[in-house]
Symmetry: C2
Subunit: 174 residues, 2 copies
């Protein structure tokens, strides 16, 4: 088989969501079962001997990658959601956007003290979402083993918000 | 191993999202790699000889189940999203909620004419979301082979909105 380059499955969409921004569209990757499986396999590799208990991802695109990685690691999956979506008791964390703020919630009682957590998302941009998610995980007692991303936009320096933890990215745009 | 009952991994949350409604919370299922894998395996079974090209699911909870089912069927995954989220050219469909309307979009150009589609979601309630998604899939030329749901709330009769297509549900609450 010819070598598969994940980068060939990411589409640049200029001026989205607004003029001057080039959006990395991962939906072409999802169309190809071979490319998607390769991405999941590569996201798993750095953590396969880390005895991960739970993979944690934020809605909505994080939900596409978190559960398959969790399955491959024989770990559970825990969703981070926008307010009003999780039906049980939650704690929440707000974080800054370019304009305004956003809030994420996590269920109480699902992460046990010392649970070993892999934080996973499709794209690391400014790091706001994953930094807020990490705070929530630590508030409920979890131990963050590392972060995995399909794409890292390293020019936005999101890694600096992730407290020196291990960060793996499959594709890096600088 | 003791028999695994998926129903044991679904939590009833009374009065959510509002008084009088009992919400079926699937997050306990996600915590258990064994139960989650069992659910995915059972969602796959009725379609494993159907040569499915793409699994189509709506944000956000549909994204948790669609990609693992797609991987198991060696199919691609296509997301249905709320307006403003898909960066490429889209078509959209609006549908009624109890109060007001909601809208779903799908990328143009990803489903090819005659592509064989499995529509998948976590819960079949009134059927509005999946009926709108099915219209979008058919507008871009896809052929819907069937629908799969983890949970069917059959007292809401959502199946009547799905045009007599094949519908499989793992758990049925009547």
């Amino acid at each position: 088989m010819a070598t598969l380059y994940l980068n060939d499955f990411v589409r640049d969409v200029p001026d989205f969501p607004k003029p001057g921004i080039t959006f990395k569209d991962i939906t072409p990757l999802l169309l190809s079962p071979v490319a998607f499986k390769s991405a999941i396999d590569q996201l798993v590799v750095p953590y396969q001997d880390e005895k991960i208990d739970f993979v944690v991802s934020a809605e909505a695109r994080g939900f596409i990658f978190g559960p398959p990685v969790a399955m491959a690691l024989n770990a559970g999956f825990i969703p981070l959601r926008k307010p009003g979506k999780l039906p049980g008791e939650t704690i929440e964390e707000s974080y800054k956007l370019e304009y305004g703020t956003d809030t994420l919630q996590i269920h109480k009682g699902h992460i046990k003290p010392k649970s070993r957590i892999l934080m996973l998302d499709d794209v690391l941009a400014t790091g706001g979402t994953m930094a807020a998610g990490a705070k929530l995980v630590e508030k409920v007692g979890g131990t963050i083993i590392g972060f995995s991303f399909l794409i890292e936009l390293s020019f936005l320096a999101g890694k600096t918000k992730l407290d020196g933890k291990k960060v793996h990215s499959l594709l890096n745009y600088s």
